[in-house]
Symmetry: C2
Subunit: 260 residues, 2 copies
Protein backbone atom coordinates (compact mmCIF):
# COMPACT_ATOMS: atom_id res chain seq x y z
CA UNK A 1 0.00 0.00 0.00
CA UNK A 2 0.97 3.64 -0.41
CA UNK A 3 2.00 5.39 2.79
CA UNK A 4 -0.71 6.61 5.17
CA UNK A 5 -2.18 10.10 5.12
CA UNK A 6 -1.95 11.47 8.69
CA UNK A 7 -4.07 14.55 7.89
CA UNK A 8 -6.96 12.46 6.55
CA UNK A 9 -6.59 9.92 9.37
CA UNK A 10 -6.85 12.60 12.06
CA UNK A 11 -9.96 14.10 10.44
CA UNK A 12 -12.16 12.00 12.80
CA UNK A 13 -9.72 12.12 15.69
CA UNK A 14 -12.34 12.47 18.46
CA UNK A 15 -14.14 9.34 17.32
CA UNK A 16 -10.88 7.46 16.82
CA UNK A 17 -9.38 8.52 20.14
CA UNK A 18 -12.40 7.39 22.18
CA UNK A 19 -11.74 3.65 21.81
CA UNK A 20 -8.03 4.27 22.41
CA UNK A 21 -8.89 5.98 25.71
CA UNK A 22 -11.43 3.31 26.69
CA UNK A 23 -8.85 0.60 26.05
CA UNK A 24 -6.24 2.39 28.14
CA UNK A 25 -8.74 2.95 30.97
CA UNK A 26 -9.05 -0.83 31.35
CA UNK A 27 -5.28 -1.45 31.65
CA UNK A 28 -4.77 -2.68 35.25
CA UNK A 29 -1.28 -1.22 35.73
CA UNK A 30 -0.40 1.50 38.24
CA UNK A 31 3.12 2.38 37.09
CA UNK A 32 4.61 0.52 34.11
CA UNK A 33 8.30 1.22 33.51
CA UNK A 34 8.24 0.55 29.76
CA UNK A 35 5.14 1.00 27.59
CA UNK A 36 5.14 0.33 23.85
CA UNK A 37 2.49 1.82 21.56
CA UNK A 38 2.50 -0.65 18.69
CA UNK A 39 1.08 0.91 15.52
CA UNK A 40 1.15 4.37 17.08
CA UNK A 41 -0.03 6.17 13.93
CA UNK A 42 0.07 9.96 14.33
CA UNK A 43 0.59 9.62 18.10
CA UNK A 44 -2.89 10.25 19.49
CA UNK A 45 -2.79 7.02 21.51
CA UNK A 46 0.87 7.55 22.47
CA UNK A 47 -0.11 10.90 23.98
CA UNK A 48 -2.80 9.18 26.07
CA UNK A 49 -0.34 6.59 27.38
CA UNK A 50 2.24 9.24 28.26
CA UNK A 51 -0.42 11.31 30.04
CA UNK A 52 -1.60 8.39 32.15
CA UNK A 53 1.92 7.12 32.89
CA UNK A 54 4.17 10.20 33.12
CA UNK A 55 6.98 8.19 34.77
CA UNK A 56 7.06 5.44 32.14
CA UNK A 57 9.39 5.18 29.18
CA UNK A 58 6.90 5.32 26.28
CA UNK A 59 7.93 4.18 22.82
CA UNK A 60 5.75 4.53 19.72
CA UNK A 61 6.33 2.15 16.80
CA UNK A 62 4.79 2.18 13.33
CA UNK A 63 5.50 0.96 9.81
CA UNK A 64 4.61 4.32 8.25
CA UNK A 65 7.34 7.00 7.95
CA UNK A 66 4.63 9.66 7.37
CA UNK A 67 2.79 8.65 10.55
CA UNK A 68 6.04 8.60 12.56
CA UNK A 69 6.98 12.06 11.28
CA UNK A 70 3.56 13.34 12.31
CA UNK A 71 3.86 11.69 15.75
CA UNK A 72 7.36 13.12 16.35
CA UNK A 73 6.19 16.62 15.46
CA UNK A 74 3.30 16.27 17.89
CA UNK A 75 5.21 14.67 20.77
CA UNK A 76 8.86 15.75 20.54
CA UNK A 77 9.64 14.40 24.02
CA UNK A 78 8.80 10.77 23.22
CA UNK A 79 10.64 8.06 21.30
CA UNK A 80 9.30 6.82 17.98
CA UNK A 81 10.68 4.17 15.69
CA UNK A 82 10.01 2.11 12.59
CA UNK A 83 8.80 -1.43 13.34
CA UNK A 84 6.29 -3.97 12.10
CA UNK A 85 4.16 -5.59 14.81
CA UNK A 86 4.20 -8.87 12.89
CA UNK A 87 7.95 -9.35 13.40
CA UNK A 88 8.85 -6.90 16.18
CA UNK A 89 10.86 -8.12 19.16
CA UNK A 90 11.66 -5.63 21.94
CA UNK A 91 15.17 -5.14 23.34
CA UNK A 92 13.80 -5.40 26.87
CA UNK A 93 10.46 -6.82 27.94
CA UNK A 94 7.73 -4.14 28.13
CA UNK A 95 5.27 -3.87 31.01
CA UNK A 96 2.61 -2.69 28.58
CA UNK A 97 2.17 -3.58 24.93
CA UNK A 98 -0.65 -1.42 23.65
CA UNK A 99 -1.89 -2.06 20.11
CA UNK A 100 -4.73 0.24 19.13
CA UNK A 101 -6.32 -0.19 15.68
CA UNK A 102 -3.34 -1.98 14.15
CA UNK A 103 -3.51 -5.77 14.51
CA UNK A 104 -6.55 -5.98 12.21
CA UNK A 105 -4.10 -5.31 9.37
CA UNK A 106 -2.06 -8.40 10.23
CA UNK A 107 -2.85 -12.06 9.47
CA UNK A 108 -2.74 -15.12 11.72
CA UNK A 109 -4.04 -13.77 15.01
CA UNK A 110 -3.90 -17.27 16.48
CA UNK A 111 -0.08 -16.97 16.43
CA UNK A 112 0.30 -13.21 16.64
CA UNK A 113 -1.54 -12.51 19.88
CA UNK A 114 0.12 -15.25 21.98
CA UNK A 115 3.49 -14.17 20.54
CA UNK A 116 2.97 -10.54 21.59
CA UNK A 117 1.70 -11.66 25.00
CA UNK A 118 4.85 -13.77 25.42
CA UNK A 119 7.07 -10.70 24.94
CA UNK A 120 5.73 -9.04 28.12
CA UNK A 121 7.60 -8.68 31.39
CA UNK A 122 6.10 -10.57 34.38
CA UNK A 123 2.91 -8.80 35.49
CA UNK A 124 2.71 -7.07 32.12
CA UNK A 125 -0.39 -6.28 30.09
CA UNK A 126 -1.27 -6.72 26.43
CA UNK A 127 -4.02 -4.27 25.42
CA UNK A 128 -5.55 -4.57 21.96
CA UNK A 129 -8.32 -2.74 20.14
CA UNK A 130 -9.33 -3.65 16.59
CA UNK A 131 -12.10 -2.36 14.33
CA UNK A 132 -14.45 -5.31 13.79
CA UNK A 133 -16.52 -3.81 11.00
CA UNK A 134 -15.91 -6.11 8.04
CA UNK A 135 -19.55 -7.26 8.16
CA UNK A 136 -20.89 -3.68 8.30
CA UNK A 137 -22.42 -2.03 5.20
CA UNK A 138 -19.36 0.25 4.87
CA UNK A 139 -17.11 -2.74 4.30
CA UNK A 140 -19.54 -5.15 2.64
CA UNK A 141 -20.25 -2.45 0.04
CA UNK A 142 -16.53 -1.90 -0.64
CA UNK A 143 -16.33 -5.53 -1.66
CA UNK A 144 -19.57 -5.49 -3.65
CA UNK A 145 -18.67 -2.33 -5.58
CA UNK A 146 -15.15 -3.67 -6.18
CA UNK A 147 -16.52 -6.87 -7.74
CA UNK A 148 -19.01 -5.21 -10.05
CA UNK A 149 -17.28 -2.40 -11.94
CA UNK A 150 -14.58 -1.80 -14.57
CA UNK A 151 -12.06 -1.61 -11.69
CA UNK A 152 -12.64 -5.26 -10.70
CA UNK A 153 -9.49 -6.64 -12.37
CA UNK A 154 -7.25 -3.89 -10.97
CA UNK A 155 -8.48 -4.40 -7.41
CA UNK A 156 -8.39 -8.19 -7.54
CA UNK A 157 -10.08 -10.45 -5.01
CA UNK A 158 -12.33 -8.24 -2.84
CA UNK A 159 -11.96 -10.68 0.04
CA UNK A 160 -8.20 -10.05 0.02
CA UNK A 161 -8.49 -6.27 -0.31
CA UNK A 162 -11.17 -6.41 2.40
CA UNK A 163 -9.00 -8.51 4.76
CA UNK A 164 -11.77 -11.05 5.28
CA UNK A 165 -11.17 -13.94 7.63
CA UNK A 166 -8.64 -12.33 9.96
CA UNK A 167 -10.81 -11.35 12.90
CA UNK A 168 -11.69 -14.09 15.35
CA UNK A 169 -14.66 -14.30 17.70
CA UNK A 170 -14.29 -12.82 21.20
CA UNK A 171 -14.25 -16.29 22.79
CA UNK A 172 -11.46 -17.37 20.42
CA UNK A 173 -9.22 -14.53 21.64
CA UNK A 174 -10.06 -15.55 25.19
CA UNK A 175 -9.10 -19.16 24.43
CA UNK A 176 -5.78 -18.11 22.88
CA UNK A 177 -4.65 -16.06 25.88
CA UNK A 178 -6.38 -17.43 28.98
CA UNK A 179 -4.12 -20.46 29.54
CA UNK A 180 -1.08 -18.15 29.70
CA UNK A 181 -2.68 -15.22 31.53
CA UNK A 182 -3.67 -14.24 35.04
CA UNK A 183 -6.77 -12.53 33.61
CA UNK A 184 -8.28 -11.90 30.18
CA UNK A 185 -10.92 -9.24 29.58
CA UNK A 186 -12.60 -9.26 26.16
CA UNK A 187 -15.40 -6.96 25.08
CA UNK A 188 -16.87 -5.66 21.85
CA UNK A 189 -18.41 -2.21 21.51
CA UNK A 190 -20.48 -0.95 18.59
CA UNK A 191 -20.38 2.85 18.53
CA UNK A 192 -23.04 4.72 16.57
CA UNK A 193 -21.38 7.86 15.25
CA UNK A 194 -23.67 10.63 13.98
CA UNK A 195 -22.22 11.74 10.64
CA UNK A 196 -23.18 14.90 8.76
CA UNK A 197 -23.88 13.04 5.52
CA UNK A 198 -22.96 10.01 3.41
CA UNK A 199 -19.85 11.78 2.12
CA UNK A 200 -18.50 11.97 5.68
CA UNK A 201 -18.81 8.18 5.99
CA UNK A 202 -16.90 7.75 2.72
CA UNK A 203 -14.26 10.18 3.89
CA UNK A 204 -13.83 8.24 7.16
CA UNK A 205 -13.23 4.86 5.52
CA UNK A 206 -11.12 6.43 2.75
CA UNK A 207 -8.39 6.91 5.33
CA UNK A 208 -8.34 3.23 6.36
CA UNK A 209 -10.42 0.30 5.08
CA UNK A 210 -10.92 1.71 1.59
CA UNK A 211 -7.19 2.17 0.96
CA UNK A 212 -6.47 -1.33 -0.45
CA UNK A 213 -9.36 -0.80 -2.88
CA UNK A 214 -8.26 2.67 -4.04
CA UNK A 215 -4.48 2.19 -4.12
CA UNK A 216 -4.44 0.03 -7.30
CA UNK A 217 -6.56 2.56 -9.25
CA UNK A 218 -5.49 5.62 -11.22
CA UNK A 219 -7.09 9.02 -10.55
CA UNK A 220 -10.04 8.44 -12.90
CA UNK A 221 -10.58 4.94 -11.54
CA UNK A 222 -10.49 6.22 -7.95
CA UNK A 223 -13.06 8.91 -8.76
CA UNK A 224 -15.39 6.46 -10.50
CA UNK A 225 -15.08 3.90 -7.72
CA UNK A 226 -15.74 6.55 -5.05
CA UNK A 227 -18.82 7.80 -6.92
CA UNK A 228 -20.32 4.29 -7.10
CA UNK A 229 -19.37 3.53 -3.51
CA UNK A 230 -20.81 6.87 -2.34
CA UNK A 231 -24.17 6.08 -3.93
CA UNK A 232 -24.22 2.67 -2.21
CA UNK A 233 -23.35 4.23 1.17
CA UNK A 234 -26.02 6.89 0.72
CA UNK A 235 -28.65 4.15 0.26
CA UNK A 236 -27.35 1.92 3.07
CA UNK A 237 -27.24 4.66 5.73
CA UNK A 238 -30.60 6.43 5.59
CA UNK A 239 -31.07 9.85 7.16
CA UNK A 240 -32.13 9.68 10.83
CA UNK A 241 -34.73 11.90 12.51
CA UNK A 242 -32.30 14.84 12.63
CA UNK A 243 -31.05 14.39 9.06
CA UNK A 244 -27.74 12.81 10.03
CA UNK A 245 -26.48 9.31 9.21
CA UNK A 246 -25.55 6.89 11.98
CA UNK A 247 -22.32 5.02 11.35
CA UNK A 248 -22.37 1.80 13.38
CA UNK A 249 -18.74 0.96 14.13
CA UNK A 250 -18.05 -2.23 16.13
CA UNK A 251 -14.66 -2.64 17.77
CA UNK A 252 -13.08 -5.57 19.62
CA UNK A 253 -11.12 -4.99 22.84
CA UNK A 254 -8.75 -7.42 24.57
CA UNK A 255 -6.82 -6.79 27.80
CA UNK A 256 -4.71 -9.71 29.02
CA UNK A 257 -2.52 -9.62 32.12
CA UNK A 258 0.48 -11.85 32.78
CA UNK A 259 1.01 -13.32 36.23
CA UNK A 260 3.59 -11.32 38.28
Amino acid sequence: MADWNPALYTRFEDERTRPAAELLARVPLAAPRLAVDLGCGPGNSTALIAARYPDAAVIGLDTSPAMLESARARLPGLTFGLADAAAWTPERAPDLIYANAVLQWLPDHASLLPRLFGLLAPGGVLAVQMPDNLAEPTHRLMREVAASGPWAAAIGDPAVAGRLGRMLEPAAYYDLLAPHAAAVDVWRTAYHHPMADAAAIVEWVSATGLRPFLDPLDADGKAAFLAAYGRAIDAAYPARSDGRRLLAFPRMFIVARKAP
Copy 2:
Protein backbone atom coordinates in the same frame (compact mmCIF):
# COMPACT_ATOMS: atom_id res chain seq x y z
CA MET B 1 -42.94 -9.70 41.45
CA ALA B 2 -41.61 -10.43 44.91
CA ASP B 3 -39.22 -7.81 46.28
CA TRP B 4 -35.62 -7.84 45.12
CA ASN B 5 -32.81 -9.62 46.94
CA PRO B 6 -29.99 -7.10 47.47
CA ALA B 7 -27.53 -9.73 48.70
CA LEU B 8 -27.97 -11.89 45.60
CA TYR B 9 -27.94 -8.83 43.31
CA THR B 10 -24.63 -7.60 44.73
CA ARG B 11 -23.01 -11.04 44.31
CA PHE B 12 -21.61 -9.94 40.91
CA GLU B 13 -21.13 -6.32 41.92
CA ASP B 14 -17.83 -5.77 40.08
CA GLU B 15 -19.33 -6.90 36.78
CA ARG B 16 -22.52 -4.91 37.38
CA THR B 17 -20.70 -1.74 38.47
CA ARG B 18 -18.49 -1.63 35.39
CA PRO B 19 -21.24 -0.57 32.95
CA ALA B 20 -22.56 1.88 35.56
CA ALA B 21 -19.10 3.50 35.71
CA GLU B 22 -18.66 3.47 31.94
CA LEU B 23 -22.04 5.16 31.52
CA LEU B 24 -21.15 7.85 34.07
CA ALA B 25 -17.75 8.43 32.43
CA ARG B 26 -19.54 9.52 29.26
CA VAL B 27 -21.79 12.10 30.98
CA PRO B 28 -20.60 15.49 29.64
CA LEU B 29 -21.38 17.50 32.79
CA ALA B 30 -18.79 19.25 34.93
CA ALA B 31 -20.89 20.18 37.96
CA PRO B 32 -24.60 19.21 37.99
CA ARG B 33 -26.57 20.70 40.88
CA LEU B 34 -29.19 17.94 41.06
CA ALA B 35 -28.53 14.36 39.96
CA VAL B 36 -31.18 11.64 40.17
CA ASP B 37 -30.24 7.95 40.17
CA LEU B 38 -33.40 6.36 38.81
CA GLY B 39 -33.64 2.70 39.79
CA CYS B 40 -30.75 3.06 42.19
CA GLY B 41 -30.94 -0.52 43.49
CA PRO B 42 -28.56 -1.14 46.40
CA GLY B 43 -26.77 2.16 45.71
CA ASN B 44 -23.65 1.06 43.83
CA SER B 45 -24.38 3.50 40.98
CA THR B 46 -25.48 6.24 43.43
CA ALA B 47 -22.11 5.98 45.14
CA LEU B 48 -20.36 6.48 41.78
CA ILE B 49 -22.42 9.58 41.01
CA ALA B 50 -21.77 11.08 44.45
CA ALA B 51 -18.04 10.39 44.09
CA ARG B 52 -17.80 12.08 40.70
CA TYR B 53 -20.03 15.02 41.71
CA PRO B 54 -19.32 15.71 45.40
CA ASP B 55 -21.03 19.13 45.24
CA ALA B 56 -24.26 17.84 43.67
CA ALA B 57 -27.47 16.96 45.46
CA VAL B 58 -27.78 13.26 44.63
CA ILE B 59 -31.09 11.46 45.05
CA GLY B 60 -31.57 7.71 44.61
CA LEU B 61 -35.01 6.41 43.66
CA ASP B 62 -36.24 2.82 43.43
CA THR B 63 -39.48 0.81 43.60
CA SER B 64 -37.98 -1.77 45.97
CA PRO B 65 -38.10 -1.11 49.75
CA ALA B 66 -35.44 -3.80 50.28
CA MET B 67 -33.09 -2.17 47.77
CA LEU B 68 -33.68 1.29 49.31
CA GLU B 69 -32.96 -0.04 52.79
CA SER B 70 -29.72 -1.56 51.51
CA ALA B 71 -28.78 1.70 49.76
CA ARG B 72 -29.49 3.83 52.85
CA ALA B 73 -27.35 1.56 55.01
CA ARG B 74 -24.51 1.86 52.54
CA LEU B 75 -24.75 5.60 51.90
CA PRO B 76 -26.25 7.27 54.98
CA GLY B 77 -25.34 10.76 53.73
CA LEU B 78 -27.49 10.59 50.58
CA THR B 79 -31.24 10.87 49.98
CA PHE B 80 -33.22 7.82 48.86
CA GLY B 81 -36.91 7.54 48.09
CA LEU B 82 -39.60 5.28 46.69
CA ALA B 83 -40.54 6.07 43.07
CA ASP B 84 -41.38 4.32 39.82
CA ALA B 85 -39.52 5.61 36.76
CA ALA B 86 -42.60 4.99 34.62
CA ALA B 87 -44.62 7.68 36.41
CA TRP B 88 -42.03 9.72 38.30
CA THR B 89 -42.03 13.51 38.00
CA PRO B 90 -39.35 15.49 39.86
CA GLU B 91 -40.15 18.47 42.09
CA ARG B 92 -37.40 20.47 40.38
CA ALA B 93 -35.76 19.74 37.03
CA PRO B 94 -32.61 17.61 37.43
CA ASP B 95 -29.37 18.33 35.61
CA LEU B 96 -28.69 14.61 35.39
CA ILE B 97 -31.16 11.76 35.15
CA TYR B 98 -29.13 8.59 35.37
CA ALA B 99 -30.98 5.30 34.80
CA ASN B 100 -28.67 2.30 35.05
CA ALA B 101 -30.13 -1.18 34.44
CA VAL B 102 -33.73 -0.18 35.16
CA LEU B 103 -35.59 0.98 32.03
CA GLN B 104 -35.44 -2.50 30.48
CA TRP B 105 -38.11 -3.46 33.04
CA LEU B 106 -40.51 -0.81 31.70
CA PRO B 107 -42.65 -0.90 28.54
CA ASP B 108 -43.12 1.67 25.80
CA HIS B 109 -39.64 3.11 25.43
CA ALA B 110 -40.87 5.25 22.53
CA SER B 111 -42.82 7.34 25.07
CA LEU B 112 -40.72 6.75 28.17
CA LEU B 113 -37.35 8.02 26.97
CA PRO B 114 -38.59 11.31 25.44
CA ARG B 115 -40.67 11.86 28.60
CA LEU B 116 -37.65 11.44 30.89
CA PHE B 117 -35.54 13.63 28.59
CA GLY B 118 -38.24 16.32 28.77
CA LEU B 119 -37.96 16.44 32.58
CA LEU B 120 -34.34 17.70 32.44
CA ALA B 121 -33.20 21.21 33.21
CA PRO B 122 -31.67 23.14 30.27
CA GLY B 123 -28.22 21.70 29.50
CA GLY B 124 -29.16 18.53 31.38
CA VAL B 125 -28.22 14.95 30.51
CA LEU B 126 -30.20 11.72 30.36
CA ALA B 127 -27.89 8.73 30.79
CA VAL B 128 -29.31 5.24 30.30
CA GLN B 129 -27.83 1.76 30.40
CA MET B 130 -29.94 -1.34 29.78
CA PRO B 131 -29.03 -5.01 29.53
CA ASP B 132 -29.78 -6.05 25.95
CA ASN B 133 -29.44 -9.78 26.39
CA LEU B 134 -32.89 -11.14 25.56
CA ALA B 135 -31.51 -12.85 22.45
CA GLU B 136 -28.60 -14.44 24.38
CA PRO B 137 -28.68 -18.16 25.33
CA THR B 138 -29.24 -17.22 29.01
CA HIS B 139 -32.56 -15.60 28.15
CA ARG B 140 -33.62 -17.67 25.15
CA LEU B 141 -33.22 -20.78 27.32
CA MET B 142 -35.36 -19.31 30.12
CA ARG B 143 -38.19 -19.03 27.62
CA GLU B 144 -37.58 -22.46 26.09
CA VAL B 145 -37.40 -24.24 29.45
CA ALA B 146 -40.49 -22.33 30.66
CA ALA B 147 -42.52 -23.50 27.67
CA SER B 148 -41.57 -27.15 27.90
CA GLY B 149 -42.06 -28.35 31.49
CA PRO B 150 -44.77 -28.99 34.10
CA TRP B 151 -44.30 -25.34 35.19
CA ALA B 152 -45.50 -23.97 31.83
CA ALA B 153 -49.04 -23.09 33.00
CA ALA B 154 -47.84 -21.41 36.20
CA ILE B 155 -45.30 -19.23 34.36
CA GLY B 156 -47.63 -18.33 31.50
CA ASP B 157 -46.48 -16.76 28.24
CA PRO B 158 -42.66 -16.94 28.18
CA ALA B 159 -42.54 -13.86 25.95
CA VAL B 160 -44.26 -11.87 28.71
CA ALA B 161 -42.10 -13.27 31.53
CA GLY B 162 -39.08 -12.69 29.29
CA ARG B 163 -40.05 -9.07 28.51
CA LEU B 164 -39.69 -9.61 24.77
CA GLY B 165 -40.27 -6.68 22.43
CA ARG B 166 -39.34 -3.83 24.74
CA MET B 167 -35.81 -3.07 23.63
CA LEU B 168 -35.42 -0.98 20.49
CA GLU B 169 -32.50 -0.83 18.09
CA PRO B 170 -29.72 1.72 18.78
CA ALA B 171 -30.81 3.86 15.81
CA ALA B 172 -34.40 3.93 17.11
CA TYR B 173 -33.24 5.44 20.42
CA TYR B 174 -31.23 7.97 18.45
CA ASP B 175 -34.30 8.87 16.36
CA LEU B 176 -36.44 9.31 19.49
CA LEU B 177 -34.08 11.76 21.18
CA ALA B 178 -32.05 13.51 18.46
CA PRO B 179 -34.71 16.06 17.38
CA HIS B 180 -34.95 17.32 20.99
CA ALA B 181 -31.26 17.04 21.93
CA ALA B 182 -28.03 18.94 21.41
CA ALA B 183 -26.21 15.59 21.13
CA VAL B 184 -27.09 11.91 21.38
CA ASP B 185 -24.46 9.23 21.97
CA VAL B 186 -25.61 5.62 21.60
CA TRP B 187 -23.38 2.57 21.90
CA ARG B 188 -23.78 -1.11 22.65
CA THR B 189 -21.14 -3.16 24.45
CA ALA B 190 -21.04 -6.92 24.75
CA TYR B 191 -18.94 -7.90 27.77
CA HIS B 192 -17.58 -11.43 27.98
CA HIS B 193 -17.47 -12.30 31.67
CA PRO B 194 -15.38 -15.33 32.66
CA MET B 195 -17.54 -17.36 35.05
CA ALA B 196 -16.31 -20.18 37.27
CA ASP B 197 -18.95 -22.62 36.04
CA ALA B 198 -22.48 -22.93 34.66
CA ALA B 199 -23.95 -22.59 38.16
CA ALA B 200 -22.45 -19.12 38.44
CA ILE B 201 -24.27 -18.07 35.26
CA VAL B 202 -27.55 -19.40 36.70
CA GLU B 203 -26.88 -17.56 39.95
CA TRP B 204 -26.26 -14.29 38.08
CA VAL B 205 -29.54 -14.34 36.15
CA SER B 206 -31.45 -15.68 39.18
CA ALA B 207 -31.13 -12.22 40.69
CA THR B 208 -32.67 -10.45 37.67
CA GLY B 209 -33.99 -11.90 34.40
CA LEU B 210 -35.01 -15.25 35.88
CA ARG B 211 -37.16 -13.71 38.61
CA PRO B 212 -40.43 -13.47 36.60
CA PHE B 213 -40.01 -17.17 35.75
CA LEU B 214 -39.29 -18.31 39.31
CA ASP B 215 -41.69 -16.07 41.25
CA PRO B 216 -44.89 -17.96 40.22
CA LEU B 217 -43.42 -21.34 41.26
CA ASP B 218 -43.44 -23.04 44.65
CA ALA B 219 -40.20 -24.32 46.18
CA ASP B 220 -40.32 -27.70 44.40
CA GLY B 221 -41.23 -26.06 41.12
CA LYS B 222 -38.37 -23.57 41.45
CA ALA B 223 -35.90 -26.38 42.15
CA ALA B 224 -37.09 -28.44 39.19
CA PHE B 225 -37.06 -25.45 36.84
CA LEU B 226 -33.57 -24.44 37.98
CA ALA B 227 -32.28 -27.99 37.44
CA ALA B 228 -33.60 -28.10 33.87
CA TYR B 229 -32.38 -24.56 33.17
CA GLY B 230 -28.96 -25.35 34.65
CA ARG B 231 -28.52 -28.31 32.31
CA ALA B 232 -29.44 -26.15 29.32
CA ILE B 233 -26.97 -23.44 30.40
CA ASP B 234 -24.23 -26.00 30.92
CA ALA B 235 -24.67 -27.17 27.31
CA ALA B 236 -24.97 -23.66 25.83
CA TYR B 237 -21.84 -22.25 27.50
CA PRO B 238 -19.04 -24.75 26.86
CA ALA B 239 -15.86 -24.68 28.94
CA ARG B 240 -13.18 -22.42 27.45
CA SER B 241 -9.44 -23.18 27.26
CA ASP B 242 -8.99 -22.45 31.00
CA GLY B 243 -12.09 -24.38 32.09
CA ARG B 244 -14.26 -21.30 32.67
CA ARG B 245 -17.46 -20.31 30.90
CA LEU B 246 -17.69 -17.00 29.04
CA LEU B 247 -20.94 -15.13 29.67
CA ALA B 248 -21.56 -12.77 26.74
CA PHE B 249 -23.58 -9.87 28.14
CA PRO B 250 -24.61 -7.11 25.70
CA ARG B 251 -25.72 -3.76 27.10
CA MET B 252 -27.16 -0.67 25.43
CA PHE B 253 -25.96 2.81 26.43
CA ILE B 254 -27.62 6.14 25.65
CA VAL B 255 -26.36 9.60 26.67
CA ALA B 256 -28.49 12.52 25.45
CA ARG B 257 -27.74 16.16 26.24
CA LYS B 258 -30.27 18.98 26.19
CA ALA B 259 -29.34 22.35 24.71
CA PRO B 260 -28.39 24.90 27.43
